[in-house]
Symmetry: C2
Subunit: 148 residues, 2 copies
Amino acid sequence: MRMTLHTDYALRILIFVAAQPSGICTVNDVVEAYGLSRHHLMKVAQHLRHLGFIGTTRGRAGGIRLAATPDKINIGALVRLTENDFGLVECLEAGGGACTISPACRLKGMFAEALDAYLAVLDRYTLGHVMQNRTLLRRLLGGMSDAA
Amino acid sequence: MRMTLHTDYALRILIFVAAQPSGICTVNDVVEAYGLSRHHLMKVAQHLRHLGFIGTTRGRAGGIRLAATPDKINIGALVRLTENDFGLVECLEAGGGACTISPACRLKGMFAEALDAYLAVLDRYTLGHVMQNRTLLRRLLGGMSDAA
């Protein structure tokens, strides 16, 4: 059971931006910090902007910044928007899949209930909670000092 | 977010066997009922046998049968055994992945808690609950009548 890289990368971008003392960075900074594909991170950053999680500033000192404070960015809400496929089993796919027994099978309801419980846990957390080890996060993301 | 086909097929095999009036069937019967790959279903059936969910009987009237009554086959226990990858995000992979911020990031704990909540729901259900629409399930699985 895995989430998509899209969700994984979206979370990493938001954590990186939230860790910046200036509150602003470029996608290239994110690429360097995590060693991930620039192409993929750029697409995810565009999607995050489209969803309203980040804003962009143009110009020499421009870059991406959070569109809200970390305590206002809910992890459950983010995952619901970035994870575009919750088809845990075929019958939960958009369109319902083609499983023969789908009209009678009670698994569908059980997996839907389990998914609700999964997301309900994430609904209790914000990016603010994720950033509680901010000092260490900054250090791991490229040696930024606390004073910076 | 998806589970593997291995788990999906394991559930379908158990439902098919549980729907048999005689309590016994062949993997070919399962292949025909769902229109799935024989090769893949055979592998999953071997794994289910290895895990102790089904037993096999040799000979002309042989085949596969449940190793316990449906109300003793727990869905959470099954999914924990058939789903071999609960690496929802990279840091939850076996081995911990390579994410730079893994030592400080609190997401790992949040996703682990969400996964626990997911599995805790499935722990409340058995194959017996899945089979509550047995009459309709039988009909969908190949026109078997109730009287059969």
